[in-house]
Symmetry: C3
Subunit: 155 residues, 3 copies
Amino acid sequence: MAELTHMIDSEVFLTFSTYATIVTLKMMLLSLLTSYFRLTKKVFANMEDTSLAHSTEDKKKMIRVDPDVERVRRCHQNDLENIVPFIVIGLLYALTGPDLATAVLHFRVFVISRICHTVSYVLVLPQPSRALSWVTGMLATFSMAYRVLSTALFL
Amino acid sequence: MAELTHMIDSEVFLTFSTYATIVTLKMMLLSLLTSYFRLTKKVFANMEDTSLAHSTEDKKKMIRVDPDVERVRRCHQNDLENIVPFIVIGLLYALTGPDLATAVLHFRVFVISRICHTVSYVLVLPQPSRALSWVTGMLATFSMAYRVLSTALFL
Amino acid sequence: MAELTHMIDSEVFLTFSTYATIVTLKMMLLSLLTSYFRLTKKVFANMEDTSLAHSTEDKKKMIRVDPDVERVRRCHQNDLENIVPFIVIGLLYALTGPDLATAVLHFRVFVISRICHTVSYVLVLPQPSRALSWVTGMLATFSMAYRVLSTALFL
């Protein structure tokens, strides 16, 4: 892992920046989707969010759990649990000086697998579409982690 | 995005470090606030946390869902969903060599909007105070993401 | 915080990479553990995950909340809430040029405390084992944040 500073100016790092930004934006879209469902279906988690309703009865009805909102939230949570490790390990991986082609392959496989995961989750595609895309993303991250630890293990 | 290594020694990167640390500490405070509410209101999620109670009856009563605790936890979750993207995109943005004044403006707007978000959430301020601070933070992150992708798009 | 670029090639940064990768992999293991419990105990959150069951009755029974699954999920959530701040602040801390011995101590204390936290949570060890490991990890992160802010505060 010598000369890490050279790696920052490398194409690998720039490619990582692009894919990391894209997959992070994809994750943020789920925040907007949750808000969209909450506003259109009038399902809220906080009393102060129901100010559009007039009577207290109507307000209380808006504080409920909706299956569509919960589905998007589970999808979002799964993104957090998988994209955060990708960003951390991918950044360190980009600094180990991998082949550009190998690195791009890892980044592409991960980002495409997460897009497939979101589509499978939100559109309720039959399994194992969602399970396979989740596993594929994990394997890409594990593969990068293996390279980070085998290139430089300082305990 | 040439000469990224120079950017790391820049004032933009140092400013990013400061704001990223502050907003991360703010997020961690919500962990402490959750613990504080759990201990003072005696509301726990795990059976082994109720060892202060003597009878099994008292222990079971402590395993419940409390609206104040849930409110802080939702606030914390919203922080995770918004601050993680800011850190990732903000770090890459700081390496694209933006104007110091523009960069500081982005970081300040984001951090202040998240502080307003937490205050609105925890103190139950009337809407749209919380909604506006959430949207403001998102816009700051989107604006930085736009610059990252327009400066260097390596697919 | 002068000459940050030199710091990236330092042993402190390489050590940070190692510990950050290890603790991130540990967090990812909880995803796998959740899946393991869901599959062996047949507890799912989505209707499309129950395709192994034949009758609609059996499928509905599989959509439920299981205490073991929820325990692992709370443990995973606590990891996200604590490991993300460690990664962010630890990365910036590694760039402030700390003593190698001091830095390694911080990283080790954090990673070991999180492993203890997971073991205490999943194996339901009596308190205060889990509380102490949680506090220890937080203190390590706060100590690094103090150094980041005291070395370079650019507001």
